[in-house]
């Protein structure tokens, strides 16, 4: 006689199994016996191997494409509770780079049209630029939010007392820092997007407070500069009224060099450009060009350094295009003028 119940576990185990299966469904949040562990494996692999590999890369375009293409796959595992917030934050950071590249191209097109006094070209490029900056701000806002979720850090509630996240390792610190940087960038990008992304301006003071959870010197002055740029935007957030954010950022130039990561200077440049401090822009660009030979990159975070340098080049390109209608010519990085340097040192009198 056929005994179907014999295929089931013993009577003593049966209630446990039933409870387990029931709990999966009762949870109703999509935990899946196959997808969930797959997502956890992918997420774990992303954190342990893919992220360190990508951070060492020297190809920004490939890294940003990876962010764009992999994010929808990896982050979709959130639906089955695989908790991909940490890697998901970094993927959005990468995807933000792609969007920013496109936005800058439109911005340069706008400046070229302006140079040619091409009104319709200017309008078109400006609209396109705002759309692209809107997309950039969106991605960076996601990077910020996911980063905060990953570290169970609620930036809005940290007003009175700062309860910093627990980092397991340097990569955790870096991930948290990149999320904060994305938050600060999202605010700036959204401003360029004409507010299309709807990034709350309250993000800025939140980022400023949270950045105190990082050792600025260890990270090449980047946490310090994240705070300093917000002090420029919102002087009331300064811990001390006498604190000069520009002096802080200037001091951080050598800190960045020593740490093998020049990204902090990119932030100083962007902010100087934002507020029209042309001398500071010229000074930082010249510093970056002059210090190139003595700079030694920290190999494990090469991508972070290179992205910073690309942003510096964007700043330079905007200045050149604004002035001359074309981006920084080769071998001119570090200068903001196409005027020939006078070779006063070369005296040619009486030679001919």
């Amino acid at each position: 006689m056929f005994k179907p119940l014999q295929l089931l576990p013993s009577r003593s185990l049966r209630p446990v199994l039933v409870a387990l299966v029931a709990s999966l469904f009762v949870a109703g949040c999509g935990i899946h016996p196959i997808y969930t562990p797959t997502g956890q494996v992918l997420s774990g692999y992303g954190e342990s191997h893919a992220t360190p590999y990508v951070l060492e890369m020297d190809d920004i375009g490939m890294a940003c494409s990876l962010g764009e293409s992999l994010d929808p796959l990896l982050y979709s595992f959130k639906r089955v509770k695989a908790n991909p917030e940490t890697t998901g934050s970094l993927l959005q950071v990468l995807a933000g780079i792609c969007a920013e590249r496109e936005a800058v191209e439109e911005e340069l097109r706008y400046l070229r049209a302006e140079h040619k006094n091409d009104l319709s070209g200017m309008r078109d490029a400006r609209n396109a630029m705002q759309r692209k900056y809107g997309a950039t701000a969106n991605r960076r806002l996601k990077a910020f939010n996911r980063g905060m979720t990953a570290f169970r850090f609620d930036p809005a509630s940290q007003v009175e007392e700062l309860d910093c996240p627990c980092y397991r390792n340097d990569q955790d610190e870096l991930t948290f820092m990149m999320a904060l940087l994305s938050g600060a960038q999202a605010v700036l990008d959204d401003a360029k997007a004409g507010g299309r992304a709807g990034v709350s301006r309250s993000l800025a003071p939140q980022v400023e407070r949270a950045a105190a959870c990082l050792d600025s010197e260890k990270w090449g002055g980047l946490p310090g500069n994240i705070r300093a740029v917000i002090w420029v935007l919102l002087p009331d957030t300064r811990p001390d009224d006498d604190l000069d954010p520009w002096a802080v950022m200037k001091a951080n130039r050598e800190v960045a060099m020593a740490a093998g990561m020049r990204t902090a200077m990119a932030l100083e440049l962007v902010m100087a450009e934002n507020v029209g401090r042309t001398e500071t822009v010229a000074e930082v660009l010249a510093f970056l060009a002059e210090s190139e030979e003595r700079f030694v990159v920290r190999p494990e975070y090469q991508l972070v350094d290179l992205v910073g340098m690309e942003v510096a080049l964007f700043v330079s390109d905007r200045i050149w295009t604004d002035r001359y209608g074309y981006r920084t010519p080769s071998n001119r990085f570090g200068r903001i003028s196409d005027e020939q340097e006078q070779d006063e040192s070369i005296n040619t009198e009486g030679l001919l």
Binding site: N331, Q340, D343, N347, T348, L351, L352
Partner: protein, 343 residues
Amino acid sequence: MRLRSLTAAALVGLASFSQSHASEAIDTCVFDIIGSSGDQYQMMQDYALNMREHGVRLDLIPYTDESVALAEFSSGSCDILVATDLRTRRFNRFTGTLSAVGAIPSYDELKTVMKVLASEGAAKHMVNGDYEVLGIFPLGAGYLFVTDRSIDTAADLAGKRIATLDYQKDAIHMVNYVNGSVEPSDITNFGGKFNNRSVDAAYAPAFAYEALELYRGVSDDGGIVRYPLAQLTAQVIARKGVVDSETAQKAREVAYSMFDDTMELIRRYEEGIPESSWVDIPDKDIDDYQEMFRQNRIQLRDGEDSDGNSVSQVYDGDMLTLLRRVRCRENPDASECTASDRE
């Protein structure tokens, strides 16, 4: 009112006519050993772009064979030629003497010379007969590549086979001077000869180390003698009247304004050569070589060797004087600066 608008229309028409006439493209034969993807051609594209600002349009045509580029220019197929000064010497001996042996020992001195040549004061030297020099670009110093790094003195070159460009009379004279054996070659085959070691030595700018794979010939036992034998340049030669004299002067200034960028590329090539491949020679030997080169230059200027035999008259005395003044400004204590037979 109507008359005025008609006049205006006529003026606009005339203006657009003269504009199109002024911007007519000038066919320019450009020699680059690897064609339009080579550095020299790329440099010319930048030059052509810069010249557009002065109302000159250059239509660049690449040639990988310098003799063909020269022939096309001579036959009138193009009105501007861009080639090495070894080939353009015939159009202007003054600027063609820039690559005189051992005459410009450093890039700082080269820059001074270039600045002088781009000045308005030098304009009269830029015109010769039916031709005018519109610009000069550095191509880097020529170095001696040897298959055996123990060849590090001029005396060691005696009896050695040296790949020598067959149209470069000064180089042939120099090889004979050191009792080397001239192995007639051209730009396209000297690299192969050096690499398969059918010659013991060759001279070339650092660019050739990778482009012509001279590292294969250098290998473990060969080397590159760290002393600039000559400063090679690319020169832009125009048929006279193709551009007016004011534009020609602007063109030379444009070329000089590109000096630093061009040098950066050259330095990159030199830095790309592994340190272990360079062969350094002692300072005291350098003094002797400088005197040897000087004697050679004087002979090639006067067309007579020390025994009174006739040799090719290759170098221009005015340029040699200019180069000597530049060297002596850099190194005033050198014996040549007070020598009775100074250049």
